[in-house]
């Protein structure tokens, strides 16, 4: 897996910010959009920290699905 560089991170921020701007840009001022971009930067930073961790396939999400029956 290629290392994720700072340049890649900036590109990811721009792509994800574009998605958010596309969805909500019409209701936000330029200053608010700047605030959104800052938040997206934090999200990408956190995501990259998560992606950098290696796990075993057996490391399941700690939120197991529980089947349901109304009479049990």
């Amino acid at each position: 897996m290629p290392a994720e560089s700072g340049q890649d991170a900036n590109a990811e921020v721009e792509r994800l910010f574009a998605l958010v701007r596309e969805r909500y840009g019409d209701r936000l001022t330029p200053a608010e959009l700047d605030g959104v971009r800052e938040s997206v930067e934090g999200i990408v930073q956190a995501a990259r920290a998560l992606r950098a961790e290696r796990l075993e396939m057996s490391d399941e999400p700690l939120q197991p699905f529980v089947p349901y029956r109304a009479d049990r």
Binding site: L16, F17, L19, V20, R23, Y24, R27, L28, E32, L33, G35, V36, S39, V40, G42, I43, V44, Q45, A46, A47, A49, L50, R51, A52, E53, L55, D59, E60, P61, L62, Q63
Partner: protein, 468 residues
Amino acid sequence: MSENPAFLPVRRLALLVRSRTVSPVTLAETFLERLETLGPKYNAVVTVTRERAMEQARRAEREIAAGRYRGPLHGIPYGAKDLLATSGGIPTTWGAAPLREQRFDFDATVIRKLEEAGAVLCAKLAMVELAGGMGYRQPNASFTGPGINPWNPDAWSGGSSSGSGSAVAAGLVPFAIGSETWGSILSPAGFCGVAGLRPSYGRVSRRGAMALCWTLDKLGPLCLTADDCGLVLEAIAGADPADPTTSDRPWSYDGADVAGRRFRFGVIKNVTTGCEEAVSASFERSLETLRVLGGIEEVELPELPWEAITRTILHVEAASAFEDFIESGKIAGLTAPEDHYSPYARDAILAKDYVKALRLRGVMVREADRVLSRFDALVGPGRATVAPGLDQEFRSAIRGGAPDLMGAIGNGAGLPAVCVPNGFVTRGLPTSLQFMGRVYEENAVLAAARAWQSLTDWHLRHPAVGND
């Protein structure tokens, strides 16, 4: 009664009530008046529930006179964070201007349990709008105004359980209920110099509480002492069929004398990194006192993105819980300008990254339990700073602007922690110490905090309020 009840702990008030030295009606009237006259000074109150309080107080008085004493909360006034549903036409605003007329036709389980214990609901207390889940950056983030600190009117009371912290500190109620997703009990307790207990996840039913993050939300007490936190937790803890996340492990408060008990404390390496100098200094002094109580060992945690794990889960769950509110644009009606746009950014969190956070949470809980199994508690500063100024933007681990290792692990892994004052420093503001324990070990952290308070007098100091 010759003692001023305003700053008496629940344990002491209970003795006075049980012995009929003071009547629940008199107590209710005293605290209702304080809430009405002093509450606005701290922006601490949303609704004073006078009618319900007097009805409950009169009932308590009749029952106690008839010999039907229910326990240590019988006849004791309290306030509830305004995210707990209350019946009878009392608003439940979640601190948010667009919801200031919101009402429910039932009581949250916690409110019901406190009623069964005989406690007297005197007020719905102010809070940061939507429990801070929209990303606020400064104290003015509630339609009731910024929470004002009783120790310094230019400082914030903390959040998101702002009124729960300031009301207890100012003697407006003997105890209060708050909630914590990440920091919302420990922050106001620490900034206001009172005791705050974040119970284990699942210890207290959240039925009827505003949902911010289903896998992170906890309800717990704020009181004058750690001992009082135990008394209140015993009344509100327990399984609830209406909240399937509650634990069916029975729990009762062990308030036994801790004199002579030896504790094992752990301190996470570099736990004061990012703390204000005054906070670090208070903590170092506290370690000297803690050595009287037992051994202290430095522990090292594996390198993991602890804050990123909990933050990612929080952001995704909050965005989903408030999907309609956010998508509809109602967030534009919130008080904090940054709450008008911050939640939109969470659409940028990818599903694969969220699931990775959930998988890493499994590593987190195992590592936390491995470390904590050797100790009664990990100790650290309750907050990294003293209370910021009312007009000051603050750093937050939830936004990624500050480290909060114990907060990230404690909330991500659902661990109990109690926060108590450990000094007064800059601008007359308190600093705090937290004891964080293994899951379901509230009695261990409370015992440690009681032992701490038996050796210190920070919790006996109270701000100058009114004519006290």
